[in-house]
């Protein structure tokens, strides 16, 4: 039996928060001493809502920019090496993940729909044709031409897979656009993931694996090479991107399969996103992104 003169702060506190049981509410409200204590605790709680000195808008902008910048993997191959050594899943910047997932859905669906056509063009994809495809800046055309991950030919893989470009000019990372500028408004990430998982389940890797370049099944090491190789043979590109242009990576689990996604900035405002079956290092798809 609790002495009415000794208020129970826990009951009173939960009463103030609307979290007390009916009996607790009745108990507090029937006792003037407890109600007095409730007033004291209410006043204390109210102090917490005293406005915090606001930050200036430029400070807020700087902090947000810094956060976005810190969320991106610096664009150089060193990060890939670190990742290979650590063998830990890459932490994707959210922006890149959202962009890539958003882009991957229609791509995978398109692969599924056009797998028969793609098969016929799988083993080789003439560079001239590819560049002709890229002559247009129309996004849809770019996206369609991007459905040629099979643009890797075995010959190309043999000739280029064993070596990286020996010297690469520096990339001005300061010229990179902030990723959030690419983000569509109000993307439902979960819905996208589910949609993507369903799309993956419906087809595509089985149909693409036979015509995509299959590298050695060593995920972390070889997928980086696969990406570089993939990019260097991209049918979308007028000039191959440098490995330093890789701006974001992540391992994303989709339908039980680990997929590597990468976002490559070709030039300010122009990206390509790659989707690679990380289990087998099979390139699945790519797309050009022009925000």
């Amino acid at each position: 039996m609790i002495d009415a003169s000794a208020p129970d702060d826990e009951i009173i506190s939960s009463y103030l928060d609307g979290e007390g049981s009916p009996s607790e509410v009745a108990r507090v409200e029937s006792n003037p001493i407890w109600m007095q204590r409730a007033s004291e605790l209410r006043a204390t709680a109210a102090l917490m809502t005293d406005p915090v000195p606001p930050l200036e808008s430029n400070v807020i902008d700087q902090m947000i920019s810094a956060a976005i910048g810190a969320g991106q993997v610096p664009a150089n191959v060193t990060d890939l090496s670190i990742a290979r050594r650590s063998r830990m899943p890459q932490i994707l910047t959210a922006a890149a993940a959202v962009v890539i997932l958003a882009l991957a859905v229609p791509i995978i669906r398109s692969i599924g729909n056009s797998s028969g056509e793609s098969d016929s063009a799988a083993t080789s994809f003439p560079t001239e044709n590819a560049r002709a495809d890229t002559a247009t800046s129309d996004d849809q055309a770019l996206a369609e031409s991007a459905l040629a991950p099979e643009s890797f030919s075995p010959a190309a893989a043999d000739s280029a897979g064993s070596s990286m470009p020996p010297e690469l000019p520096p990339v001005d990372t300061a010229s990179f656009d902030p990723l959030p500028a690419l983000l569509p408004d109000a993307i439902d990430v979960q819905a996208l993931q589910e949609e993507l998982a369903a799309a993956v389940a419906s087809d595509p890797r089985d149909s693409t694996s036979s015509r995509a370049m299959l590298l050695q099944p060593e995920i972390t090491t070889l997928c980086a090479d696969a990406l570089a190789e993939f990019a260097s043979h991209s049918a979308l590109l007028n000039s191959p991107p440098m490995p330093e242009s890789f701006t974001d990576f992540s391992l994303v689990s989709m339908n039980g399969t680990t997929n590597l996604v990468a976002l490559i900035q070709l030039e300010p405002g122009r990206f390509i996103a790659l989707l690679v079956d990380a289990t087998a290092c099979v390139s699945v798809s790519q797309i050009s992104v022009a925000p």
Binding site: I2, A6, P7, D8, D9, E10, I11, I12, S13, S14, D17, E19, S39, E40, L41, R42, A43, T44, A45, A46, L47, M48, T49, D50, V52, P53, L55, V59, M63, I64, A66, A67, I68, A70, G71, I91, L92, T93, A94, A95, A97, V98, D188, V189, Q190, S250, V252
Partner: protein
């Protein structure tokens, strides 16, 4: 709100700014892991709270900002020692200094409740404890805060609290 939470938890501008920056970075990096099961704000508060606490723990060797040792046992009311709740509210109170005297687990619970407005279930999710523990921590935090602000430091036995 992220800054306000960090400000209350940290107790001073400098640490709050650093903690807020860390929190924002953590949110950006963790966005891909947001699965939509919780409200975004709840998720963001959890990330921010953890980032703030991590940042503050990294600075654990530093003295409590804005609070010199000789104030530790004093009232945080600048004037007299008001007992009337209205006086407490209207008095010039160094809220941050008082809050900084709360144990971390009480401080976080109180801030998330009274500043962020989360309910007990949400707070439980944010700091990964049972709702009953949230209730206890908030109660004990408020009790101690009330005593600190009023300049009253009663022995624990003088006032009940369901959980020790």
């Amino acid at each position: 709100m992220i800054y306000a939470i960090c400000r209350r938890i940290a107790g001073n501008d400098a640490d709050a700014l650093d903690a807020t920056q860390e929190a924002l970075i953590a949110i950006v990096k963790g966005l891909a892991r947001f699965d939509g099961r919780a409200r975004f704000s709840t998720w963001a508060y959890r990330v921010a709270t953890n980032a703030c606490l991590d940042e503050l723990r990294r600075r654990a060797r530093r003295p409590v900002p804005g609070l010199s040792d000789d104030r530790n046992n004093e009232s945080f009311v600048a004037s007299s020692k008001p007992r009337d709740p209205a006086e407490i509210v209207s008095a010039k109170v160094d809220v941050d200094a008082a809050i900084s005297q709360l144990p971390e687990e009480f401080r976080v619970a109180v801030v998330l409740r009274d500043l962020a407005g989360l309910d007990y279930a949400e707070i439980a999710e944010v700091i990964n404890i049972a709702p009953g523990t949230v209730r206890s921590r908030i109660s004990r935090g408020r009790s101690r805060l009330s005593d600190l602000i009023s300049g009253n430091h009663p022995p624990q036995s003088q006032r009940q609290n369901t959980q020790p």
